[in-house]
């Protein structure tokens, strides 16, 4: 496995994670969702050891359909909470490879700090993101795809105000 790890270009993986964060911070959700595979899921558990996204509540657990609806709802002119825009800034670090099935199928974990400005207040989130990535060779769309992302906030079990964004 270590050998496999050595074969993965960590700089390219980091660049991919930065791109994702940049799409989110700039509100380019069309580009963002295209980083995800058709069968992708996005999960934000409510407890640190949570294993079951279907039978227990989560802050967020979405398939591609729900992600598309959320992208269409984001900054919608009819949504009272988006009358004033939401802004975010990600800092990503401590990027490390976890499980490496192959160079085309592996898991990477990173830490993030995210500052959000929303409804007149600034809020700080922190946690880890675990990306399950595949490398797809498909003409001009060749590159990494996320097929599962898990976001663990350090205060996932705490009371939260509204969370209108992806992390």
């Amino acid at each position: 496995m270590n050998k496999q790890k050595d074969n993965i270009d960590l700089r390219a993986v980091e660049a991919f994670l930065y791109d994702e964060a940049d799409y989110l911070d700039s509100g380019n959700l069309d580009a963002w969702i295209n980083l995800y595979s058709e069968d992708a899921t996005y999960w934000m558990p409510v407890s640190e050891d949570q294993q079951d996204p279907l039978g227990e509540i989560s802050i967020l657990y979405e398939n591609r359909t729900l992600m598309q609806i959320r992208c269409l709802n984001f900054n919608h002119r009819l949504a009272p909470s988006f009358e004033t825009p939401v802004r975010t800034s990600h800092i990503i670090g401590n990027v490390r490879l976890l499980e490496v099935e192959s160079m085309a199928d592996f898991t990477v974990r990173s830490n993030f700090h995210l500052v959000m400005y929303f409804q007149g207040e600034q809020e700080l989130f922190a946690g880890t993101a675990t990306h399950h990535l595949r490398f797809i060779k498909h003409g001009r769309r060749t590159g990494f795809r996320i097929y599962h992302k898990r976001v663990d906030l350090i205060d996932c079990a705490a009371p939260h105000k509204s969370i209108p964004i992806y992390f």
């Binding site: 934000m44 409510v46 407890s47 949570q50 079951d52 279907l54 039978g55 227990e56 509540i57 989560s58 802050i59 967020l60 657990y61 359909t65 729900l66 598309q68 609806i69 959320r70 269409l72 709802n73 919608h76 002119r77 009819l78 949504a79 009272p80 909470s81 988006f82 009358e83 409804q119 079990a157 705490a158 009371p159 939260h160 105000k161 509204s162 969370i163 209108p164």
Partner: protein, 437 residues
């Protein structure tokens, strides 16, 4: 200023309430004394404390309490306050323990809150200190009653019992239990905790407000429609659509759902029809229900469709979706809303999954529905500071098409009747003297 009953009565009129009920600090403190101490407030469900020593910590109004099961299987609700110097004894949201022990000076308590032992007892000898004096205990909340697993507490010794208090709202709890093929339910997982920048009454009043969804939640309906428009022809809509779409229903649909109110401020929307009526069947569920209830009763049970039965002042329960939301007031402009989820024991997992999906889509702080409600409450909380207009309107369908059947009065679904009814209960609690302060 000391508020007298006449001051409080002047805040509520037949068709409006004074803005002070939402923004005034003194009113909030009085509500904690009079509404939240006198009413039966939801504490927890017995499945949260399954074994001896299991406990949850929560609040009644702004009072920290612990709900705990003792070794003889009795459930107690005791104040989470050390009988010595007043420290909060446990900070854990839940756990299991043979006894409680204060981390400050080590006083320990039995599971019924009585004082077990104080360290270095010699210092108390010949001081008149009496360990059996309840002032030195984690005090018991005055009254605790359990309706079919739902534990409520009232902090005054005298008053109506829980069943009389619940009245026709019992039928919602009964229906949730009837929907379990075993007749039993249990809470699963953690709660979602959603902090609101608003007075507790704004959240409670919105539960049976049938005139906001088509406005406040217009965007998510529009987003869903756009997505369906992008689907290839003949593709079936995603299952989540049946949960989100009804929030964009017409005024006429909500009017026809109707709203029903009852004594003590309780209410619900729907009954036969509701925004939950068109959910698809879950495979294998109906057969299990028929095996338990027979065909006729199964039909009756599944036909009951109440949306947000509001048990004033603290909690709301649905029947077709097995989730409850509990309001925990923190300050005049701060309210914690907890969402808990139930498994219908014996039912297919798919039913639990639907409840969980519903809650993520509607109740989560990260949903596409709750945050728009949140935003509107926060707007009210902020703008009601304005003295330009002291009154908040409650005119809709006032005195029109209100049909009384026994203790229950029904009206059109976009009526403000549920709010007018809540303020009658509010006045009864708030303007009835100082008997227990």
């Amino acid at each position: 200023m000391r508020l007298i009953d006449a001051d409080i009565r002047a805040l509520v009129e037949a068709d409006r309430v004074h803005r002070k009920v939402y923004v005034d600090e003194e009113i909030f403190q009085l509500e904690m004394q009079r509404v939240w101490k006198r009413a039966w407030v939801f504490v927890g469900h017995e499945s949260q404390v399954k074994e001896a020593g299991s406990f949850i910590s929560t609040t009644i109004g702004t009072e920290p309490v612990v709900m705990v099961r003792d070794k003889s299987n009795e459930i107690h609700v005791i104040y989470n306050r050390c009988g010595h110097k007043g420290a909060k004894v446990t900070n854990k949201p839940c756990g299991k323990t043979p006894m409680f022990r204060c981390p400050y000076h080590g006083w320990s308590y039995n599971l019924d809150g009585t004082l077990n032992v104080t360290p270095h007892k010699v210092g108390y000898e010949d001081t008149g200190f009496d360990k059996s004096d309840t002032r030195f205990h984690m005090g018991k909340v005055a009254r605790v009653e359990n309706y079919r697993g739902f534990v409520f507490a009232s902090q005054i010794k005298e008053g109506v019992n829980l069943e009389e208090f619940l009245g026709d709202a019992k039928a919602t709890i009964d229906n949730v239990l009837d929907r379990a093929p075993t007749g039993q339910i249990e809470i699963v997982g953690q709660a979602l905790l959603y902090m609101h920048d608003c007075n507790w009454k704004m959240f409670i009043e919105n539960l049976n407000d049938g005139v906001h969804p088509m406005v406040t939640h217009a965007s998510v309906g529009d987003a869903c429609r756009k997505l369906l428009g992008q689907l290839p022809e003949g593709a079936s809509p995603p299952p989540e659509a049946e949960i989100v779409f009804p929030f964009g229903s017409s005024y006429e649909f909500f009017d026809d759902m109707g709203v029903s109110v009852m004594p003590y401020g309780h209410s619900y929307m729907g009954g036969q029809s509701s925004i939950h009526q068109d959910y698809s069947d879950v495979e294998g569920y109906r057969d299990k229900m028929v095996a338990r209830h027979g065909e006729e009763k199964t039909q009756q049970v599944l036909a009951q469709n109440r949306h947000n039965t509001t048990i004033y002042p603290s909690f709301t329960i649905k029947d077709a979706i097995q989730a409850i939301r509990v309001a925990r007031p923190i300050a005049v402009n701060k309210t914690l809303v907890e969402t808990w989820h139930f498994r219908l024991i014996g039912a297919p997992d798919a039913l639990l999954h639907r409840t969980i999906t519903y809650s993520r889509l509607i109740n989560s702080p990260a949903s596409m529905v709750g945050p728009d409600d949140w935003n509107c409450y926060a707007r009210m909380q902020e703008a009601l500071k304005s003295s330009s207009n002291d009154w908040v309107d409650l005119h809709r369908y006032l005195g029109r098409e209100e049909i009384r059947e026994g203790d229950v009065t029904r009206a059109r679904g976009t009526s403000d009747l549920s709010m007018r009814n809540q303020y009658q209960a509010w006045l009864t609690y708030m303007a009835s003297g100082n008997c227990d302060e």
